[in-house]
Subunit: 180 residues, 2 copies
């Protein structure tokens, strides 16, 4: 399995649609259906993004999600950390302390400080995290937006509006909250 | 599970002992026992390191492994790639082509080139790999060596010599090759 999982991939693709200020407040189900991915899978991602202060849930029957802050201030690292949690690149097992010549207990010099192998892995992890921190959601959305023809954004807004209208009171009484 | 697994951790710790030119030619079992880790687990790692040209198996009953090239020319990336194989940080599923407004097939503009999300992940992967490529086995061994007292290296050599002597003809007839 890849280190950065499909939860991040799905979450990121959903967030890209929310960068458009005129996208409304789509539900996680709307965003999943817009992209042809599993609604139940996406529904588990949004509470994590909300907890991390990346999205905000809007109240009401037609409520859904919107970005909680400027997309230029949301980095890929923020999103990866929100969805994946604390997940190290390398999990040091402190093998250095088990050397047979130490007998029953390792001397202090052998286990003090960070293991040199672990330290090198931490430098690689920092390099990866620094790169993710330098990428903003706004920048990625702009890159995607430059490829799309002008009418594509309009078509997506219309599609999302139709979904939101379907959530109007009396239309779909069983779908009463933002995350379904 | 961490992205860089315990196979890399065990392999790297074994390789550190081989940097000492006077360590002899320990078997993978000797190296595993020296470090208190599973010999059968370590035995699976060495063929990968040999295939990648990082270690060379010495022939004969007392044969074992030695480095195949200068440890200053062996990077952490060489070792990670040898043991982990081709393992991407992020596995793009091309979600961009599934947008509901496209209907049955995505237009060419939507799927041409690398997905902007994937491209950002590839930059993070490159940053991580560049960092691993900048770390040499020799440098890590020197960092470890600076912490150890002078008699530690002698004790390890004596321990490994004892193990190699145990593999002499007539002593342990069932252990006849380098990797056991």
């Amino acid at each position: 399995m890849a280190f950065i999982t499909s939860s991040v991939e799905y979450g990121l693709h959903c967030l890209l649609w929310l960068v458009d200020p005129d996208c409304g407040q789509p539900s996680s189900r709307d965003l999943a259906e817009l992209q042809g991915v599993s609604p139940s899978f996406v529904a588990k991602i949004f509470p994590k993004l909300e907890k991390a202060g990346i999205v905000r849930a809007a109240q009401g029957v037609r409520g859904g999600y919107r970005l909680a802050r400027d997309p230029a201030e949301i980095s890929l690292l923020d999103i990866v950390d929100a969805i994946e949690g604390d997940k190290p690149l390398f999990d040091c097992q402190e093998i250095r302390g088990r050397c047979a010549v130490f007998g029953d207990s390792a001397p202090r010099w052998a286990t003090q400080g960070v293991c040199a192998i672990h330290a090198a892995m931490l430098r690689a992890e920092t390099a990866m995290r620094d790169s993710l921190a330098a990428e903003s959601l706004a920048h990625i959305a702009a890159t995607v937006g430059r490829k799309a023809p002008a009418d594509f954004t309009r078509e997506v807004r219309t599609w999302l509006d139709g979904k939101a209208a379907g959530r109007a009171p009396g239309r779909t009484p069983r779908r009463r909250n933002a995350s379904t």
